[in-house]
Amino acid sequence: MGVAIEVKALNAWYGATHTLQDIELNIPANHATALIGPSGCGKSTFVRCLNRMHETNPIARVTGTVRIGDLDIYNDISPVEIRRRVGMVFQRPNPFPTMSIYDNVCSGLKLNGYRNRRELDEIVERSLRSAALWDEVKDDLKKKSGASLSGGQQQRMCIARALAVDPEVLLMDEPASALDPVSTSKIEDLIFQLKSQYTIVIVTHNMQQAARVAEKTGFFLNGRLVEFDSTHKIFTNPSDKRTEDYITGRFG
């Protein structure tokens, strides 16, 4: 089951650039939350702060508190441990090309020393079913490389890979922006089904996508969270002028 995320006074830098400024935000458990905003507004940096991927860049720096469930992820726990609890799907599908589909999906488990074959088989099937990919790949799970799938299939496999470690939170950084409309709608359906079990945070450029999948939406601009409210309110009656300008297409 998913857990809630509580962000307080979060600031992030890339070198001298102050990419996130004083972000305060509560993300509810077992719901989908969308983050929108123009390019370079800090929304990707924000999700990367939620699983401490931001700090893998040597010039990056973070201050503030992020609580996931009852853990302060910057103080109570190592980055490796938090990433085992918080799955992430990236903008471009990044399967491991030298591994089969099967190995790709259970790579997170094998990494952590999970060796029980029968259980691995079950987990791989369950994860691929949750990612709506099972029927398309079940016949050549171990024969085909993860890189031999189409882009949309690769992205769903990456979602299955993230789900296989049974995360509490699933972060998605523009998961459909490199995909065609059909694959995009499959990913959206998937988010719709998954959000009852996981806390999902999805960064998107596509405002219709945010409106379709998310209960809550946050609007980022120039490294600040301008507005965070229910998706319905953001898209029908935003309280901030800048949000309104953005969703009506006056800029961005």
Binding site: R84, F90, T98, S145
Partner: protein, 380 residues
């Protein structure tokens, strides 16, 4: 093409090739253009004509430069083949495995130019063993260095470290040889070999692993410890091939896209797990390629080996024993080879070395190219 803005396209196609049709909106090319005065720039450009002749001459010269490479390889090969023919006729394939027995000592006798005995097995053996020793030492070092450079090195240290690594490759091999004689050989003899000798003569190991014949007085570290010999040659070769392997390994590792590293990290991989899963796994074919390239260099390396290996055409299991390699025997004996058969036999050794190194290098280049040209190699 030059005729796009000329009112009558049929007139201005000096090369005679089919005109390239580009859809130009009619409105942008008013027909009245012919009546307007032609600008000075346009007149100059129109008078320039085509450059096809000079282009063709230029292309021809460049092609000639490129063909020189093929000609060189062909010339070297034919020369080696014709010159080695007498030896090939006299010994055939047995040149590479046969030996005589010394009438006095009853030991195998491979190479005795005075009495016309020419069998090349000790050279092949020496080349293989020294290269193998070199790989065993250099590969772990080089991969470790490459991992450090691509994945862990602080920014300020990266350039100096790669610079010095590549500098190692630029040192002339005879300098390595001198350094080996004055530093490496004494070091091996006094400090390193005694440790190995003690380990390999432990009674426990002899009892347990005696069947491998690698332990004890006649084993891998038996015999007289002079410092010179196969191990010394292997060690100096290791230092010489280290920069090649490290540089290429680093290249194929940096060719692994960052998204692979992020994929592993996001799954909760530690740094080492990420390197194993995302970097080494994707780069492995290229790493094998760089190792083979290092092997190619080790096989053909001459001067440093000739100065350290001991130059005796014998075969002993012990790494401490003196040996000879294919390249070093040519370097040592060619100037003194007076009989035709001696010279021909040396050239045949050279031909064998030429073929082996070409094949090894070709394999290595193919593997490295397969990885660095774009997407990482895939399983099917």
């Amino acid at each position: 093409m030059s005729n796009l803005h000329v009112p009558n396209p049929a007139a201005g196609n000096p090369e005679g090739s089919a005109p390239i049709r580009i859809a130009v909106p009619a409105a942008e090319q008013p027909l009245s253009q012919a009546e307007q005065p032609i600008s000075a720039v346009r007149r100059y450009l129109l008078s320039r004509g085509s450059s096809s002749v000079s282009d063709r001459i230029f292309a021809g010269i460049m092609l000639l430069c490129a063909l020189v490479i093929f000609a060189l390889v062909a010339l070297i090969a034919t020369e080696l083949i014709t010159q080695s023919r007498p030896s090939w006729h006299a010994f055939g394939l047995s040149f590479f495995y046969h030996y005589n027995v010394d009438p006095i000592t009853h030991l195998p006798l491979f190479w005795d130019p005075v009495n016309g005995v020419f069998y090349a097995l000790p050279f092949v053996y020496g080349t293989l063993i020294t290269s193998l020793v070199a790989l065993c030492i250099a590969v772990p070092l080089a991969i470790g260095l490459a991992i450090f450079l691509t994945e862990m090195c602080p920014r300020w240290l990266r350039s100096p470290l790669s610079f010095f690594t590549e500098l190692l490759a630029a040192i002339p091999s005879v300098v390595y040889g001198l350094w080996a004689i004055f530093v490496l050989v004494p070091l091996l003899r006094d400090n390193i070999n005694p440790i190995f000798i003690r380990i390999f003569q432990l009674p426990v190991l002899e009892k347990l692993l005696g069947w491998t014949h690698l332990f004890g007085d006649n084993g891998l570290f038996g015999g007289v410890n002079l410092g010179l010999g196969l191990l010394g040659a292997g060690a100096i070769l290791a230092i010489m091939i280290l920069p090649i392997i490290a540089a290429l390994t680093r290249e194929v590792m940096s060719a692994v896209p960052n998204s692979q590293r992020e994929a592993a990290l996001a799954l909760g991989a530690t740094r080492w797990e990420m390197i194993r899963m995302a970097v080494l796994r994707n780069a492995r074919i290229g790493i094998v390629g760089s190792i083979i390239l290092g092997l190619g260099r080790a096989l053909g390396e001459t001067m440093a080996v000739a100065m350290v290996i001991g130059n005796s055409p014998e075969i002993h299991l012990s790494l401490l024993s003196m040996g000879h390699s294919m390249a070093s025997v040519i370097a040592n004996e060619f100037s003194e080879a007076t009989s035709d058969m001696h010279r021909s036999a040396l050239i045949e050794v050279g031909l064998a070395l030429f073929l082996v190194t070409i094949i090894v290098n070709a394999c290595a280049r193919l593997l490295v190219w397969a990885v660095t040209r774009g997407a990482p190699a895939r399983v099917q």
